[in-house]
Symmetry: C2
Subunit: 236 residues, 2 copies
């Protein structure tokens, strides 16, 4: 059984949270839109197939006869299947909760450069972006990062008790990575307030099971995805 | 064992998705912030308690020694515990996926009147709201509702195969209810395009297990919650 991952071609985006879990679990998968001769059209065609459980949007995972969409839902499935999260109810729900909180911050990071509509260009909503970016930098970044720092402390550096990472640790790495890319000045100014979070970012970046992936062309640069760097939206 | 539900006082908001599930399951619960003499301060005090798994934001549910937050995560738990969702993997993930898609639309409905910051008043971001509302009405409402209509058809009116509702059916009712409140003109213009969704809204509204609740003061009006009615943001 090889998983089929479907996501927009050319950006890490939300697909990257799934890729990190698949790669760290050493699970074979096809990144369907990125296969030679494939591309965005193949994704749109596949999304329109008649299915019992059709996705609303990518990413989605096709496995056996199941079609699983929504990033946090895919990770819930992979967590259970590949032991990438605790098996007990409290631990499993905790990891899912953190994943959903990460997802909330990802939406906000995206909406900084698209506060009016995803369907419009950044340049068409730049005035609104400048306003939203200021609030995001000054209020939202500290609020979210303070929370993640707070929940890392009692667990000695991972989100779950014990010495092993969960899929939400990988996602938290990706979130911090994205923020460092999109808001380098702001992150440089505040990162020392979050030593546990910064430590987690470094530890996931150094995980032996991810080194092959990070060195491969499968790992995409941020580009025009959720996390975008516009100098005018950043600031200390 | 009585559940403790914690949410902002005075608005249905995200807490309402949890309330509907608890009420329809006929499960006893305390709505802690709304108890006599309680209120917002009691919520803030409780949120700051030192806990192994602290919430990022309300709603959260306290049960036995667990603290479960994030709306979709609470519902995942209640769904498993009270059979409010299918027990098999495919059905359970499907209901979770729909719940997450509903949550995505709730964020967008909220951001129509708060496109810059939740911490600012509507009047401080009204110009941006007018722009975002137009996109929401013309593009996002049809996109989401078309999807929900599409997934209801093969299942004869509920989101899951079979003759029983799941917690996501209750949430979909609440979503439509909120849209009818916030965008009455727009919804009146498009609702006939979505007969299955409209039918689900009516059927959940008539569920025998919810009639006591709907007639009680426990069911709150929309007010200044996620779904708000501003005439200038509505239109056909």
């Amino acid at each position: 059984m090889t998983y089929e991952l479907w996501y927009w071609n050319g950006i890490p985006g939300r697909g990257e949270f799934v890729r990190l879990a698949l790669e760290a679990a050493k699970t074979p998968y096809r990144d369907c839109t990125r296969e030679p001769g494939a591309g965005q059209e193949r994704l749109l065609e596949d999304m329109n197939r008649v299915r019992e459980y059709p996705p609303f949007a990518p990413p989605y995972l096709v496995v056996d006869r199941m079609v699983i969409s929504q990033t946090a839902n895919i990770l819930l499935f992979l967590g259970e299947k590949h032991s990438l999260a605790p098996a007990d109810t409290a631990g499993r729900l905790w990891v899912n909760q953190i994943q959903l909180t990460i997802a909330d911050m990802v939406v906000e990071a995206h909406d900084v450069h698209h506060p009016i509509a995803s369907s419009l260009h950044y340049e068409e909503q730049k005035a609104e972006s400048l306003r939203r970016a200021q609030v995001f930098r000054e209020t939202r970044i500290p609020k979210f990062l303070h929370y993640f720092e707070r929940v890392l402390i009692p667990h000695e550096g991972w989100l779950t008790a014990g010495t092993h990472w969960s899929y939400a640790d990988l996602s938290l790495f990706q979130l911090v990575d994205g923020l460092l890319h999109a808001f380098p000045k702001r992150m440089a100014a505040v990162i020392s307030d979050y030593p546990c979070l910064s430590g987690l970012h470094k530890r996931v970046g150094a995980l032996p099971e991810l080194q092959d992936y990070f060195a491969s062309p499968r790992r995409l640069p941020f580009g025009d995805g959720m996390f975008r760097y516009y100098p005018e939206l950043d600031g200390e």
